[in-house]
């Protein structure tokens, strides 16, 4: 930036920047001679002249509300444009409003789909349960996800081809996804406005400085490189950083359950008062919430506070660097940025007309150097159009097929050595992660994957940690793994039967999985069909801890586990015994046993066992259908079947 003309010192208030040809009197600060904004009252004399005779004292003493009215009015009045005051093109102003509508609309659409990523049932529903529309739609149109999984699996899984549409859109208009569509981007846009930098308020120098292009913005390209290399090596770990994945994960697993908790506790408090009206009101509110955005029961997610805390941090970062996430970290933004270099629509600048007022930078979203005198970073631009609307001169123009001279090229911006080192990092992390306690050795016995999951290695190639499956699971069975599946499997889905078991007739997690880490299975495939010799999908096998089981060690009847075992015939069978209690009196109990050939590992038994803290029956992953090696029994092992 040092070779550029130095901008004028920033004065702090829009509308008070003089054009370059206004000569400042020597000595005084520039702002001292600026014409003060015309007070509204100053226009009054002409009006009052006619009525002066009638009510002169009115003029002398305007009513108390006059100042309020004028203040309110001035709020709505279009401020006088500074500088040459050239108005922005009508179409651009219109498009900027369209962009705001689009952002709001897509954010609402995203939230709607997210809230609907669950099964509620209804009177119109039949025996087959499916999502009525693609609730995972945003992920299907996500080119970063498609690219990553393409590199790892060499296929485009089902509806992921939607992302081709997004590539096309970007090739025409640039990163409009970031500026117009992305729900995470919109959140950052909103938060950057909501919590402006304390020094410099909404428009001041720090903000303009923050909105200039910085070297750190390249971080996302290096990150993208590392993720893509990791994908080539067989890990879709980049999903940790995909903005749509983050949105689903953070809002679905942290914000919504927390909101549910707060509203639930608050309204519970009201309904426990003895005031009838309060009780009724609280019940009605609760019913209305549950019917719309909340869930009928509190959901819990394993270690979800980390997810929530990270969301909080990255939103807070907007205070110092507006849209910190989008500019610095977002690998989807980087993907689109690379594509946007070839976009048809771009910015053309007339550098000679720039007065360096920097107004374009006040609300610049991408920090892409819209101001005159520097090359435009097309790949950083979110096409929010704020700069062209703000520019009082005739510098900035968004147009089809702009003159390429004012656009920066990749060579100007990326450092080849850094690209290489990050790529190497991407390649090196995987072997490190995989030679720790993970996939191949010292496998965590309770790493139970959702039904229909592909084998673990393929799972790593596909799972983008989008948390759609965890959100949709009606039983709260699926959770973001913490370190259970190694560092590489962070936030991949893990089934924790003690919190929720897998509902046998449910296939929803496979239905919403955008990348096929959990395959789209149907009920027959999941439950098997003895007539047609279809084996059910097993996700694990149950085991008894006889020392804790009531009929086994406490001469107490129980077998809740048997009651809930859903297979037919039941995988749990009972042995009728008369066992002595401590006084030697025989007690008739039924002692449960698992038949490993029938057990599907659903975990219903573990969920309902009354031994509260550590259940007397528990499921481990051994025997899961997806694995050829994680097996117990010879005759049912996968090698024999295929």
């Amino acid at each position: 930036m040092s070779d550029l003309p130095r901008p004028l010192p920033w004065l702090g208030v829009i509308g008070q920047v003089p054009a370059l040809d206004v000569s400042a009197p020597s000595g005084g600060p520039v702002s001292a001679v600026l014409p003060a904004p015309l007070p509204v009252e100053a226009a009054a004399p002409e009006v009052t002249m006619a009525t002066a005779a009638a009510a002169p004292e009115v003029r002398a003493e305007p009513p108390w509300w006059a100042s309020v009215v004028s203040k309110v009015r001035s709020k709505f009045k279009t401020p006088k444009r500074p500088g040459s005051g050239l108005p922005a093109r009508k179409i651009i102003v219109w498009l900027r409003n369209a962009r705001r509508v689009s952002q709001t609309g897509f954010l609402l659409l995203f939230l709607f789909l997210l809230v609907r990523t669950e099964f509620r049932g209804g009177f119109a529903g039949g025996a087959t349960v499916r999502m009525p529309y693609p609730v995972e739609g945003f992920l299907l149109a996500d080119p970063f996800v498609a690219l990553m999984t393409f590199l790892s699996t060499h296929t485009i899984y089902r509806a992921l081809w939607w992302s081709v549409g997004m590539v096309a859109l970007t090739l025409i208009f640039g990163r409009v996804f970031c500026g117009w569509i992305c729900p995470f981007g919109t959140l950052h846009h909103f938060f950057a406005w909501l919590i402006p930098n304390p020094q410099g308020a909404t428009t001041g120098g720090r903000r303009v400085k923050a909105n200039m292009t910085h070297g750190y913005q390249n971080a996302k390209y290096y990150l993208l490189g590392a993720f893509l290399v990791a994908a080539v090596c067989g890990s879709a770990i980049g999903g940790l950083f995909d903005p749509i994945c983050i949105c689903v994960r953070a809002i679905g697993l942290a914000v919504l359950p927390a909101a549910n908790y707060i509203s639930g506790r608050g309204l519970d408090g009201l309904s426990q008062t003895n005031i009838h009206a309060l009780q009724l009101g609280s019940d009605a509110t609760r019913d209305a919430l549950v019917a719309t955005v909340m869930q009928p029961r509190q959901y819990f997610f394993h270690q979800t506070w980390v997810i929530g805390a990270l969301l909080f941090v990255v939103l807070l970062a907007n205070r110092w660097i507006p849209r910190f996430w989008c500019r610095v970290l977002c690998p989807l933004g980087a993907t689109l940025g690379v594509i946007a270099r070839y976009a048809l629509v771009g910015m053309e600048k007339d550098h000679s007309k720039c007065t360096d007022c920097n107004l374009c930078l006040v609300d610049c979203q991408g920090a892409d150097s819209p101001q005159g005198g520097v090359k435009h970073r097309h790949d950083e631009c979110h096409v929010c159009l704020n700069c062209e609307v703000a520019c009082p001169e005739d510098v900035i123009k968004f147009t089809f097929l702009p003159k390429r001279t004012s656009l920066a090229k990749a060579q100007d911006t990326l450092d080849r050595r850094k690209v290489l080192t990050t790529a190497l990092t991407g390649a090196a992390v995987l072997p490190l992660a995989r030679t720790s306690d993970t996939i191949d050795s010292n496998y965590y016995d309770r790493l139970i994957r959702p039904p229909g999951s592909v084998p673990e290695r393929d799972f790593m190639e596909r799972c983008i940690r989008c948390a759609e499956c965890m959100k949709v699971c009606p039983n709260n069975a699926l959770h973001p793994a913490f370190l259970e599946s190694g560092i590489e499997g962070f936030w991949t889905p893990i089934l924790i039967p003690r919190i929720g078991y897998c509902e046998p007739t449910c296939v929803l997690c496979g239905q919403v999985c955008p990348t096929g880490a959990i395959q789209k299975i149907n009920e027959t495939q999941k439950l098997g069909d003895p007539v047609r010799h279809i084996e059910p999908i097993k996700i694990g096998t149950a085991f008894y801890d006889h020392g804790r089981c009531l009929p086994w060690s406490m001469a107490t009847p129980c077998i809740v586990c048997e009651e809930f075992c859903p297979t037919s015939p039941k995988a749990i069978w009972v042995e009728e015994v008369d066992t002595p209690d401590r006084n030697g009196h025989p007690v008739h109990v039924q002692r449960p046993h698992v038949d490993p050939t029938l057990c599907i590992g659903c975990g219903a038994c573990e969920k309902v066992c009354p031994v509260q803290d550590r259940p007397a029956v528990y499921v481990t992953s051994v025997g899961e259908s997806r694995s050829k090696t994680n097996v117990i029994l010879l005759e049912t092992s996968n090698y024999n079947r295929s």
């Binding site: 099964f119 509620r120 049932g121 209804g122 009177f123 119109a124 529903g125 039949g126 025996a127 349960v129 639930g264 309204l267 519970d268 309904s271 019940d283 609760r286 019913d287 549950v290 009928p296 029961r297 509190q298 009606p474 039983n475 509902e503 046998p504 007739t505 449910c506 009531l550 107490t556 009847p557 129980c558 077998i559 809740v560 048997e562 009651e563 809930f564 075992c565 859903p566 297979t567 037919s568 015939p569 039941k570 009972v574 039924q590 309902v608 066992c609 009354p610 509260q612």
Partner: protein, 343 residues
């Protein structure tokens, strides 16, 4: 300031300590029975053929007791508690038959009820149980409100039963004017047989799994707590093995029977014979009788047994009643061994 803080400290003083809340007190009872104004019978058994529609059987059963107006008054809020416990389809007979539910809803509305709520606290995911059992759609079509058991609809109560003390209770079920128990007859591996009395498990929230350690006592406790207006037992299709969840159609059998009574103990005493059990084997029936919840001897309840025939006529103990004659006009009880048409 000092005064205020002193006042707070004095008023809200907490001595601490480790005491258990009060133990005594009478049992909580929710009694929805109507004052008996002498219906023609208190126990009706309808046996149909495989061609009889469940709705028709329910109608005959209720009419044999004197019609729904005996139980439901104009303007009542009626809660209907079918068994919607499991994620099973109707053919698997783990939940109450949806046609039976719809028929009861219809009868209750015909009797002038203002609001009819159908609900249960399911064992599996409720949305799935309600939808896939077919009860949601049929009850909704009949005009009932179908409520899912959301957490906030439960409130902790002290039932003061033998084994059941403090439990979250489903408010919707206990806040109605009349409650109709609508169980399905099933085998149950631990309790041996489940229908009317055990159906009240669905009024409890929380972790019900502890109840199994003393299943007979807890069933009796619940039946003591809930005294329904009417019990209608669905035995159209009965799960004979692998209960209570079943899952295999081979374990079920069509029995084409409906039992209706004001006495839940009697319903279970009769119903268990359908799956080959004997009332004396079921401890909770004995406890129920000891607590005077009802009688195992259903013969004392002026029973009426109606057989539906395919030609639309009904048959009771050899008497053919032509189609069009109301079942309540036909009397069969111990005092009149020969059935007769009253009018």
């Amino acid at each position: 300031m000092l005064g205020a803080s002193g006042l707070i400290a004095w008023r809200r003083y907490d001595r601490g300590g480790w005491s258990v809340g009060d133990q005594g007190g009478p049992r909580e009872v929710r009694d929805y029975r109507v004052a008996d104004h002498g219906g023609p019978s208190d126990f009706a058994v309808i046996r149909g053929t495989s061609a009889s529609r469940p709705a028709e059987m329910v109608r005959h059963a209720v009419e044999a007791l004197g019609g729904m107006r005996r139980f439901v008054s104009r303007g009542d809020v009626v809660a209907i508690k079918p068994n919607i416990g499991w994620d099973r389809t109707p053919i698997q007979a783990a939940n109450t038959n949806p046609e039976v539910v719809a028929a009861v809803v219809q009868l209750v509305f015909e009797a002038g009820a203002r609001r009819v709520v159908v609900t249960d606290a399911s064992c599996n995911d409720p949305g799935r149980c309600f939808q896939r059992s077919g009860i949601w759609s049929r009850a909704h079509a009949a005009g009932a409100e179908v409520l899912l058991p959301a957490e906030h609809r439960f409130r902790t109560m002290r039932l003061r039963g033998e084994v059941l003390d403090e439990w979250p209770v489903y408010r919707t079920l206990i806040e109605a004017d009349k409650v109709i128990n609508l169980p399905v007859a099933k085998h149950h591996n631990l309790a041996k047989y489940t229908a009317a009395m055990k159906n009240w498990y669905g009024t409890l929230g929380g972790r019900r799994n502890r109840l199994h350690q003393s299943i007979d006592m807890s069933v009796a406790d619940l039946a003591t707590f809930m005294r329904p207006t009417l019990t209608v037992l669905d035995a159209v299709r009965v799960l004979l093995r692998n209960g209570p969840q079943g899952g295999n159609v081979d374990d079920t059998q069509r029995m084409n029977a409906i039992v209706a009574s004001t006495d839940q103990v009697a319903v279970d005493a009769y119903g268990c014979t359908l799956i080959g059990q004997r009332p004396e084997n079921l401890a909770y029936l004995r406890i129920g009788e000891e607590r005077r919840l009802g009688t195992r001897d259903w013969h004392t309840l002026r029973p009426r047994e109606v057989a539906l025939r395919d030609d639309g006529a009904t048959e009771r103990y050899g008497l053919i009643v032509p189609a069009g004659v109301s079942p309540s006009d036909v009397a069969f009880d111990l005092h009149h061994p020969a059935p007769r048409i009253i009018t």
